[in-house]
Symmetry: C2
Subunit: 359 residues, 2 copies
């Protein structure tokens, strides 16, 4: 018996049009929902379960996809995060022509899930939304990103470096480890925010005599339409949003590519920080085996890791990791994290089905 | 003709009791107001002008004193900051038994005054409050702190290290220079906030394998009543106020005194940062003369610079400065910054009076 917590959101299930338009809906095979819940946006996809006998790369059938706003409870609060997640899942199911009774599994990868209590809280209200036979999985959004590079298999390490940064890995036995991902107060210096904040600091230090002159001064001021470094104080006070500050990363890369030593040092430090995060996860999970020469995937996600004109932070990070773990294997995902989340659930469900078949 | 912008605040001036209770009020000699406007509180004092023929140390006659809340426009907005400043000045004058017509000079040292436009904006509305003969001075609160150590003379350098940090100095010719004081995003690593944020980062890094183990882990968790380092993420998100984080400085000092290398390194780095700020100001203003051997005061203010059981950050900072400027002379103020602001105005007024007498 499904509790209808929110009649408006799920009202479409009472209509006649549901269950007619799709060959997957309400069939015995059913569908899987994968969600990538971030601080900027939340994406949900619906994939069929039965049609996939092997891993569906590269032409994966996505039945439906929907996008909503922030679902990080640390940013918008518990209730708003929950409403966003429920809404985006309902919209996706509506678009796919399915009802909740057709759902076989749901995997949520949500940023802000940092502690078992976060996981339990979300699982509790998911249980209120879906029928009891639905398999439910809740993880940090880094898990969805990892699965997007491994096509659903939780093995290896993912490094995300956008506005924030985090390294997250899983061993074959399911053991999990994370490094960084704690926000700017707690020293995520390899993140886009960290890189940009250090560039702003370098401008202030050059201005007040604590540090050497740098090309960053003119470039940063120009990009923010400011006339003097002391105006940066008011600029940062006016709106301390991390994404607004992280948006300066291309300015730092550009100055580094033009030969500025300070900008290059900031990027080199970021490379070391990011590589250190991955190596900490790999060491704790023993992903490289006892001698460190074992092979494992390192899934690379986020704008900071994209290649630029000369600088390629992602490549430098991999080079640095491979000095310790020579067979660390960089992977650029071909599907988005929401699909990764769905494939993760698909994998677990498949295994379970196979076990049941062989009984 | 005085414009009465706020009738309620200044209504007491119409009463008979004003001007009777004090020998200074409304006399030809008059009074001076000094204000120290901070992010935590705002303090105003009223001192007499004529009775002081020489600098009034140590038994300074304070006619009245009043305390109000935050007057940093970056924190509470322009209108609230202005109302707080006007209110605290009115209350002080009321307590001293004087009217605005008795005021000879007003000196405001307000945090958040970082740019000439900040100064001009405040001067403009001060001019609306006080009669046209009143001398008005508006500076950053660091200026009031400097004057509190030099008994009103703007010469030398002040180093403030509490929740935030700033170095600010004046040469004999009135030239001003500042270093740091730009807030945590812009790298004030010698501040109480900076020290504590690095300690929190060290706890996270020890926990996720990026850094070595440290005594800070148990001490920080215990002082915050948390059971695991990953709860620190939620703790910092819940309320990112700088003062709340800076309150952990005693924990860092205590771990350092118990021999923890990480905690000691954090404090040593803070010492270098703070000394670097002072040296940058001294170099730009040439306070040590061409050979660096000239003498100048370094006024030391704020909780971070207080001596502890073993660690004395203030002493270490001075030792570091004296390696470059051997005659840098540390001063611990005997009066509060609001009195420093008043003495600063007193000094300028005295000079002007003497010039007029010798004409």
């Amino acid at each position: 018996m499904i509790k209808y917590r929110n009649g408006d959101i799920w009202g479409f299930e009472n209509g006649d049009h549901v269950g007619c338009s799709s060959s997957y809906s309400d069939s015995e095979s059913g569908v899987i929902l994968g969600v990538d819940g971030g601080t900027t946006s939340t994406i949900c996809v619906c994939i069929p379960f039965s049609s996939l006998h092997s891993l569906p790369d590269p032409s994966l059938p996505i039945l439906a996809r929907a996008v909503a706003g922030c679902s990080n409870h640390n940013s918008v609060g518990e209730t708003a995060a929950r409403d966003t997640l429920e809404q985006v899942m309902a919209e996706t199911l509506l678009n796919s022509g399915s009802k909740r009774s057709a759902v076989r599994a749901v995997c949520l990868g949500v940023s802000g899930v940092n502690h078992p209590t976060d996981q339990e809280r979300i699982l509790k209200w998911l249980r209120d939304i879906f029928p009891s036979h639905v398999k439910l999985y809740v993880h940090n959004d880094a898990v969805a990103a990892l699965a997007s590079g491994t096509l659903g298999k939780l093995h290896g390490c993912v490094l995300i470096a956008g506005t924030g940064c985090i390294a997250c890995g899983f061993a074959e036995d399911g053991q999990e480890a994370r490094a960084a991902g704690a926000g700017p107060v707690l020293g995520d210096w390899g993140s886009g925010y960290g890189i940009a904040a250090q560039a702003l600091t370098a401008v202030i230090r050059a201005y007040d005599g604590r540090g050497p002159q740098t090309l960053l001064t003119n470039s940063v001021l120009q990009s923010l339409s400011l006339s003097s470094p002391d105006e940066l104080i008011g600029w940062t006070y006016a709106d301390p949003s991390w994404a607004r500050i992280a948006a300066l990363v291309p300015v730092v890369v550009s100055c580094a590519e033009d030969g500025d030593q300070i900008a290059n040092k900031i990027l080199e430090d970021a490379v070391q920080e990011l590589a250190l995060s991955v190596k900490a996860v790999v060491r704790r999970l023993c992903l490289g085996g006892v001698d460190g020469n074992g092979s494992f995937p390192v899934v690379m996600v986020g704008g900071v890791l994209e290649a630029n004109r000369k600088w390629d932070i992602g490549k430098e990070v991999i080079d640095c990791i491979q000095k310790t773990y020579p067979k660390a294997c960089p992977v650029k995902p071909k599907v988005e994290p929401a699909v990764g989340a769905a494939l993760f659930a698909w994998n677990l469900l498949k295994k379970e089905t196979e076990v049941n078949c062989h009984r």
